[in-house]
């Protein structure tokens, strides 16, 4: 009870701080792909006819999802370093990952440490959610047709790792466990925004599941909005 009160007080304080810091900085940008666009094979769901039946058209691969103008979706962007050493409150609302059409939605997500990780099974098919973290304790829970949701947490900060389904080998999601709220995942327009940052110099890292990471340093002043764009080019092979 007492602790709950402290937490809620902190929340209010944080809220006030956020509102009060109208002058806080924002970093925004777009991530693009440059080079020959690979032809990705559509996902073959024949292994499970129930999954295949859920789709009328071929299911596109999620390995590299591009929008118009070759902007990249599913890029995880976060502040890697430069933040003041302090504890950020953990949101109580969960990060939700759904299993729909035998795919994970969303495909890439960030979550704060100790934040609830809610897994839904909208499919009504047997899935198992096998997380492969190295720092946190790995888990592998089955979600049969009858089980609609389950909740887990990650108690330690960890770089992005894979979550997969061993019944449906094509299913993959990627989760990063953060200690701060300054992260974002791009949609098809390749855009990301990290706001409410205090003034300072930050290392911003972007991650793509096959194209690995890129980092850039950026300095923002109070109230400033800076745009930094990233470009991934196809590695020469």
């Amino acid at each position: 009870m007492y602790r709950a009160r402290i937490t809620s007080t902190l929340f209010v304080v944080a809220l006030v701080a956020t509102v009060g810091a109208a002058s806080a900085a924002t970093i925004t940008g777009t991530v693009k792909y440059d080079g020959k666009v690979p032809k990705l094979k559509p996902i073959n769901m024949n292994a499970d006819p129930v999954c295949a039946k859920k789709h009328t058209s071929p299911v596109t691969s999620e390995i590299l999802v591009l929008g118009p103008g070759n902007t990249i979706a599913n890029i995880f962007v976060h502040v890697k370093s430069g933040l003041p050493a302090k504890t950020y409150p953990t949101p109580k609302e969960p990060v939700v990952m759904d299993q729909r059409g035998c795919r994970y939605i969303p495909h890439v997500m960030g979550i704060m440490k100790d934040q609830p990780f809610k897994v839904l099974n909208s499919d009504g098919v047997l899935h198992n959610v096998h997380a492969l973290p190295k720092v946190n304790k790995p888990f592998n829970m089955a979600m049969p047709a009858a089980r609609k949701e389950a909740v887990r947490e990650f108690g330690k900060e960890e770089a992005i790792f894979k979550v997969k389904c061993d019944v449906h080998p094509w299913m993959a999601a990627y989760v990063a466990v953060m200690t701060h709220p300054f992260f974002d995942v791009t949609a098809k327009d390749g855009k990301f925004t990290i706001s409410n940052l205090p003034a300072g110099t930050y290392e911003i890292e972007v991650w793509q599941e096959r194209l690995k990471t890129q980092t850039t340093k950026v300095t923002v002043a109070d109230g400033e909005t800076k745009t930094i764009d990233f470009t991934y080019s196809r590695p020469s092979k």
């Binding site: 492969l132 790995p138 888990f139 592998n140 829970m141 389950a150 894979k162 061993d166 096959r210 590695p235």
Partner: protein, 972 residues
């Protein structure tokens, strides 16, 4: 005779005067002498250490006291203080009532005392009357009746008094409770404060005891310190342990803690010596090796009774340290204590002493350096030349050379024996050209000897001919080599994948490095060898991978392509017959007269002379210590016996001119010997015969460290049997199995405990390469480690859950599987469990080993109950969980990629132990970390996906599924 009267002797006064002076001077002298003696006794080397440590400890405790309360605690303390004040106020307000109650309580206490006394006295009287009654009845006295009456009366009285006492106590409690109620806030606050301050109070008490106050100063004054000083020599006398002092067993006394004061205290880990905390306190000083039971010198050696740096027989590790320690012996270089046989072991070598108590074990837990050393010693076959107790009956480590001519040719042998490492990394040592002061004469002599050895080996070899292998495909062969399991024991060239720790002790270096195989052997032999190694050499450790003819041909094609041309281009000089004769003559003159020798040589043909020299050279070099060589079947090994080398006295070692470079310790000498076996000949004029013979193994310095530790463990010191670690029957079975596990190199492929499964790294590297080749392809770099586990052989023992193969499979099944593993449990794996050709005894040892590791019944598995209703429920759950989605059932493969497939469940009834199935279903990851088997049956019924089945009860559902699984059959 009467004394002369003083008056009658006028000179007496003057003479007395002199005497007085004499007495005065001598008594002053005596006083000074006594003072010096006291001071000498007082001024000990250890005293300043104790004073300094005490200062450190006081400082540490003070800091701890400061830090005992966190800022939050301080806040809580304020809070408590406020509560206490409030409580006191509250109590003050009710002072009158409290006073009144306390007064009443006092009255009650008096009342209780009086009544209780009365109660007890009545009991005494009761006993008296009962006795009198018994007496009267026995004697038939008439007074019996009156006694009986009296007894009744007293009993009634006694009962009444009891009720009265109980009543008073009750009233007392009520009133006390009332007082507590009135003072509640105050009392609670006081309790909270005591609890919060408990740690601080404890520390403050410690501080009081060690602070150098007035009492302590007085206690430690010279002379006064004979009573009860706080600074004193500390000693430990571990019961049952003795030192051999000039052939007399004397109880061990270790005074090391006189200066090593922080040894058992946490918090001095970073303090300088001698105050440092012992590493791994929970294992050593405070754990199973408790300091009061084992002392110090049983592990560290040295002179436990010594209380000075020198007399404790400290040993420097390096020459620099020897110099730095000069101050302790007042010399430029540290002068160790002479005439003490067991100087302290240098840092790192201590593990050598573990085996004094840990006898009969393959490995001593956590003694990594010692274990590695023993492993290296076994792999390099040191016991081939040096007799070592416990290693007498082992097979020779090198290949059998009695048929060497069928395998290779003399061009190869010459180059190989001259410099094995120019072909590839190998454990075969180098015999020639390894002196750092090799002369041109010796170099020429080396070639003559090597040529003679080649001639002898070829001459004395049987020659089997092998037909050329069927045509094979090199590329397919390479793929097979990389996937079927060869790489669990073999490498090609500098391949560091999965090689952990010291290269030569790693699992992937167990078999020879196969680089240059094409330059070494002929294809026909190799083809026959990979198909059935034991046919050529029955004692080989190489198992049979059950290669088909085509597979063997492909692998042969691949390995034969691994040629080393630079190696074969090395020169091979013609035999210099003059030099050969000269050396042969030297040998002949050793056992014959000069004339006889000359005649003997004269009578020999050219070929005979060469063969004679070859035979002599092999005899002198000890080649037969590691290889079977015809003509040397029963020859005694050439090296010094090492069974007690660890107790060798330093003055028995020839440091030669190396003493300028090396500290005078056994450790340093051995290390040098391992690194440069012939260095002690340096700058010495010796006949070629008399030169040192140990070949050079090219050990790294870390390998030498480990080997030194192993050799130091061969000591003649005896620890009484009582003090030794005794193996239980189960542990004994485990040890026998461990030996076989090591010799079969199971860990090359399987994780067993904290090590092994090294071949996973190879798999991972291939997956990585595939992922890199097609970056948008099917291989996800984020899942490589996980896939490598899935595509490699299973873990056989999990250290953390302490569950392994023994608990998993039925002993009978395991026995059959180890005998013939050709029916695969995981048909989708490319890697194969090889056929080892174990003997029946070995099979039993291994199955017993696995069962004993897991403490499960051996060899029989109890029959399990089967209940038709449960089986039906199990079948239902089996269907609902769609087990067949990933598991093979009766040979039917699921539609999954190989990484997702799981073993055939129809084999469960004959393969798995039912108890294990249950543990597995409960929490698969606990048994096999990284498994793809999900946790389907959660502990909490609310989390259960089918909470309507058996009420969602974890155990009941698991039981049902287990029973159903056991009904599955390969036929159904």
């Amino acid at each position: 005779m009467a004394k002369p009267e003083p008056e009658s002797d006028p000179g007496l006064a003057a003479r007395n005067q002199k005497l007085h002076v004499l007495f005065a001077v001598s008594s002053i002298g005596l006083l000074v002498a006594i003072g010096c003696m006291v001071w000498a006794d007082y001024d000990r080397e250890w005293r300043p250490y104790q004073i300094e440590f005490n200062r450190m400890r006081v400082a540490q405790t003070e800091t701890q006291i400061e830090e005992a309360l966190s800022p939050e605690d301080a806040e809580t303390l304020n809070d408590i203080a406020a509560r206490l004040a409030r409580g006191r106020e509250e109590a003050e307000a009710k002072r009158d009532e409290i006073r009144e109650l306390e007064g009443e309580l006092n009255g009650l206490q008096a009342e209780l005392y009086a009544t209780d006394q009365n109660y007890r006295f009545t009991k005494a009287r009761l006993d008296v009357v009962r006795y009198e009654l018994d007496e009267a009845v026995h004697r038939g006295r008439s007074s019996a009746e009156s006694h009986r009456e009296e007894l009744r009366e007293l009993e009634a009285q006694w009962e009444e008094l009891r009720l009265e006492v109980e009543d008073i106590s009750e009233r007392q409690h009520d009133k006390e409770a009332r007082v507590d109620e009135l003072r509640q806030t105050e009392l609670e606050a006081e309790k909270a404060r005591t609890e919060l301050l408990a740690e601080k109070t404890r520390l403050e008490e410690i501080l009081q005891g060690i602070q150098p106050g007035f009492t302590n100063v007085v206690r430690n004054l010279p002379l006064l310190d004979m009573a009860n000083p706080s600074l004193k020599v500390n000693q430990i006398m571990p019961a049952g342990l003795y030192d051999d002092v000039i052939f007399t067993p004397t109880p061990k006394v270790d005074r090391c803690t006189t200066c090593h004061l922080g040894i058992d205290l946490e918090g001095f880990e970073d303090a300088p010596q001698p105050y440092t905390t012992h590493p791994e306190l929970d294992l050593y000083v405070k754990g199973p090796h408790a300091i009061d039971q084992v002392g110090c010198t049983v592990c560290h050696q040295g002179r436990g009774r010594g209380t000075t740096f020198v007399s404790a027989a400290h040993t420097p590790s390096t020459k620099e340290q020897e110099k730095a320690w000069g101050k302790y012996s007042d010399t430029e270089y540290y002068e160790p204590m002479h005439h003490w046989d067991l100087p302290m072991l240098t840092s790192g070598a201590t593990q050598s002493q573990c085996v004094k108590c840990h006898r009969g074990v393959v490995e001593v837990p956590k003694a990594h350096r010692l274990n590695t050393g023993i492993e290296l010693l076994e792999r390099h076959g040191c016991y081939g030349c040096h007799k070592i107790k416990g290693w007498e009956d082992r097979r020779k480590v090198g290949p059998d050379l009695t048929k060497v001519a069928s395998k290779t040719n003399e061009e190869f042998i010459f180059r190989w024996i001259k410099e094995p490492r120019s072909l590839r990394p190998t454990r075969m040592p180098q015999f020639w050209d390894v002196r750092i002061d090799e002369t041109p004469e010796l170099l020429a002599r080396n070639n003559v000897e090597a040529n003679a050895v080649v001639a002898y080996l070829m001459e004395n070899s049987a020659e089997e001919t092998y037909p050329a292998p069927p045509p094979g495909d090199m590329e397919t062969g390479r793929e097979l080599f990389e996937t079927v399991g060869c790489m669990g024991c073999h490498r090609v060239g500098e391949d560091e994948r999965g090689v952990v720790g010291l290269g030569n002790a790693a699992h992937r270096t167990y078999g020879p490095n196969l680089d240059g195989t094409g330059s070494k052997v002929n294809a026909g032999w190799l083809y026959a060898w990979v198909r059935d190694p034991k046919a050529y050499w029955p004692e080989t450790n190489m198992p049979n991978l059950r290669l088909t003819k085509q597979e063997a041909a492909d692998i042969t094609a691949y390995l034969m392509a691994l040629e080393n041309e630079t190696f074969m281009d090395r020169p091979r000089p013609e035999q210099d017959s003059d030099l050969r004769d000269q050396i042969a003559m030297d040998y002949l003159r050793e056992r014959l007269t000069v004339k006889q020798a000359e005649a003997e040589l004269e009578s020999m043909t050219e070929r005979e002379r060469t063969l004679y020299l070859g035979e002599r050279t092999i005899f002198r070099s000890g080649c037969f210590g590691c290889h079977m060589i015809s003509g040397f079947e029963t020859t005694m090994p050439i090296g010094t016996e090492l069974s007690e080398q660890g107790s060798k006295l330093v003055d028995r070692l020839d440091f030669s001119f190396e003493h300028e470079e090396l500290p005078h310790t056994l450790t340093a000498w051995l290390h040098r010997k391992f690194m440069e076996p012939r260095i002690f000949d340096r700058d010495k004029e010796k006949r070629a015969f008399d030169l040192l013979r140990m070949p050079k193994f090219h050990f790294t310095t870390e390998e030498a460290d480990a080997l030194v530790t192993a050799v130091l463990s061969f000591t003649k010191e005896k620890v009484p049997e009582k003090a030794q670690r005794r193996l239980t029957a189960e542990e004994d079975f485990v040890e026998r199995g461990r030996r076989l596990v090591r010799e079969s190199n199971c860990r090359g492929c399987h994780v067993i405990g904290d090590r092994g499964g090294d071949i996973q790294a190879v798999k991972a590297s291939f997956l990585e390469a595939l992922a890199e080749e097609d970056i948008f392809g099917e291989f996800d770099p984020a899942a490589i480690a996980d896939d490598a586990v899935a595509l490699s052989p299973p873990m056989l023992y999990n250290d953390e859950s302490e569950i392994g193969e023994g608990a998993k499979v039925q002993s009978h099944w395991l026995h059959e599987f180890l005998r013939d593993p050709s029916s695969k449990v995981r048909p989708w794996l490319e890697i194969r469990m090889p056929t080892y050709g174990f003997t029946e005894l070995e099979l039993n040892t291994l199955t017993h080993y696995f069962a004993s590791m897991d403490l499960v019944p051996y060899p029989f598995e109890p029959r399990t109950e089967r209940n038709p209703r449960m089986v039906r429920v199990g079948a239902d759950l089996f269907g609902k969980w769609e087990c067949e989605k990933c598991h093979v059932v009766a040979g039917k493969l699921p539609s999954q990629p190989p990484t997702n497939m799981a073993p055939d469940l129809a084999a469960a009834h004959e393969r798995l132990r039912p108890g294990w199935i249950q543990s597995w279903l409960r929490d698969p990851m606990r048994i096999q970390p990284g498994t793809r088997m999900p946790q389907n049956f959660p502990e909490n019924p609310e989390d259960n996906a089918f909470s309507d089945i058996l009420g969602g009860d974890q155990q009941a559902q698991i039981e049902a599924v287990t029973q159903y699984l056991l009904t599955l059959d390969t036929g159904s």
